[in-house]
Symmetry: C2
Subunit: 363 residues, 2 copies
């Protein structure tokens, strides 16, 4: 049983144990009781988690993680209530409702100031380096002032919880895909992947003024949601056939912008073959490959730009929040199943089997 979150300040908490999700190898997800999360540093906040969720990227280790006896804490998307703060935390108070981005960051380094918090000089990701995961009852949040975004007036029974939770990762990641591609009025955009990030890339492209949005995906319940988010065309075919369909839909030349929300090598190939000369491929699916074609016949000859990376969602939460709060957009529609912590292992199974699009966890 992992003991990475041993508290040194037990008296601050009423609880002394909590439950959290660990992965021990491919397909092996378990819920454990571990010492409760607690403040360690003066810049920490302790957040009691209200909702968290399972990410498409969690399925990568679910497929391929080597056996790991000590386990790995899981979950990097959560919303919750501040239960305690360290002495140096200035912008948060106990009881604040907060959104946590999928990377924590100091908020003060040059990269944070530039809005690239995923490259924070002192930051990191949940579930590593002594920081717990979000698929749990509570989490110690480092650099709480830099990391967390408060949302006034939200209660634990708010119907907005799913959409607020989507700001933790998938909505901001879809936004990043479209933003890095400089999607603009009149663009034709191809979105590869009908997972939550792909669908929210559709929504984001629509918000940025794309005229035509071609969603490549083959699960009709998902592509129907994609149409609701703004997709004008759906291409269910894959491989050469799917590429030919997209090229036909785009006058033979391909799309100005291709948003790749999968991360597997065939999706990269699909992007290369559906983008227009002078166009942009923006990747937000975590690449499950290191080498790929970039030479004259793929990117260079047609002056194709390749961009993207881990979304600095911290930079986008405040920007995207108003339209979520006033109901203009409803990115929370990507959640189609809710489980409690005991249901998390089955939630992984359901997402892996494509029974569920995205599973929300009620802690």
């Amino acid at each position: 049983m992992p003991l990475t979150d041993v508290t040194e300040n037990q008296s601050l908490n009423e609880r002394t144990i909590m439950r959290a999700t660990y992965m021990y190898g491919a397909g092996d997800v378990r819920i454990h009781e571990i010492p409760d999360a607690a403040l360690q540093r003066s810049t920490d906040a302790l957040v009691r988690i209200v909702r968290s969720c399972i990410c498409g990227s969690d399925l990568h280790p679910y497929h391929s993680m080597p056996d790991t006896p000590e386990g790995s804490p899981m979950g990097h998307e959560f919303i919750g209530v501040v239960e305690d703060i360290g002495s140096e935390v200035a912008t948060l108070a106990k009881g604040d409702f907060v959104i946590a981005p999928f990377a924590w960051s100091d908020g003060t380094c040059q990269f944070c100031r530039e809005g690239l918090q995923t490259s924070c000089e002192h930051g990191g990701f949940w579930g590593g380096n002594g920081i717990g995961g979000g698929q749990a009852e509570a989490v110690r949040v480092p650099f709480a002032d830099g990391t967390l975004v408060t949302v006034p007036g939200i209660t634990e029974d708010s119907p907005l919880l799913p959409s607020l939770l989507s700001l933790s990762d998938v909505y901001g990641t879809g936004w990043h895909a479209a933003r890095q591609a400089h999607v603009t009025n009149g663009d034709t955009v191809v979105v590869i992947g009908d997972g939550a990030v792909g669908l929210l890339s559709v929504l984001s492209a629509k918000q940025m003024g794309a005229e035509r949005i071609i969603l490549m995906g083959r699960h009709q319940s998902r592509t129907d949601l994609g149409r609701a988010f703004g997709a004008t065309d759906v291409v269910a075919a894959r491989g050469d056939e799917g590429i030919a369909e997209v090229r036909e839909l785009t006058g033979g030349h391909g799309a100005h912008k291709v948003l790749e929300a999968v991360g597997h090598a065939p999706a990269y190939q699909q992007a290369v073959r559906t983008v227009r000369p002078g166009g942009i491929i923006s990747r937000v699916g975590v690449p499950q490959y290191e080498e790929a074609p970039v030479g004259f016949g793929s990117l260079f000859g047609g002056n194709i730009t390749l961009t993207g990376g881990p979304a600095p969602v911290r930079a986008y939460i405040e920007q995207l929040l108003p339209a979520v709060l006033d109901g203009t957009v409803n990115p929370g529609l990507v959640f189609d199943r809710t489980v409690d912590l005991d249901g998390v292992p089955d939630g992984y199974r359901a997402m892996d089997n494509r029974e569920a699009l995205k599973v929300m966890i009620r802690s």
Copy 2:
């Protein structure tokens, strides 16, 4: 002997044969007498070449071209005088002094209208598909209205000829590198390669407001010219040592923009390791590789953008011309040797041996 340029309209020309450069395999460059270039289509112009040159990219086949009995016409950079025009040519007249970009283009398709003439739907490159090369006495120019740019008032003894010739490729290509990288005021820019394109990437970055320009190159006469063009630092070391020096010069993080003007795989690796998180790698060296690292550990994790390609120099000539004409810039300084057509084979040898930076040809 190639007979691709057989004229159907011999009467328009006083000459019936001309000399032109052909490559027959690695290291095998010869000058031949061939039937003179002549108009074939109503949209053609016939240009008598005043100056042409040898390109760093000509050295790629010079190193690796398989034996080719029929030979391949060489040269894609030239300036000259319009000797004749087809009946549909509207913007040119006999006697006009013109700059030819390294790709010919119709000037009317969607890509030309967008300024990406290297992806012209009906365009192509010199030396293929029945179009001759520029290292010759004359050339038939397809889509003359779309392809050529006239420069009023230039005579064949103008001291501006070298700089005007640089607009055919290397200056526009350096400009493209910097432009695609969105070089802007205050940027730190690394330029990889001290060939003509690398040096003119320095000049272009300087013109766009870069504050610090680190030139990676190890030929002092070239890097001295790089300093004259605006380089603030020169790193002569290669490999790990050179990368460490650049990182030290950039506070450990790398540069905002890296302009890669070489095209070999090690230069790509160098770019990946000297670019800052959130930065842009812009390639204009023709890649001599197809696959390269693009995954989490190279591009994705740091949100690095990879851009570049064959420069649509046609889009830049008019923009760059005024500063050339009024002497604000002198990109022609990259030419450090001039030969006549008979001297072309030795010119290749001299560039290959790094005796010469860039060889100009007096036709």
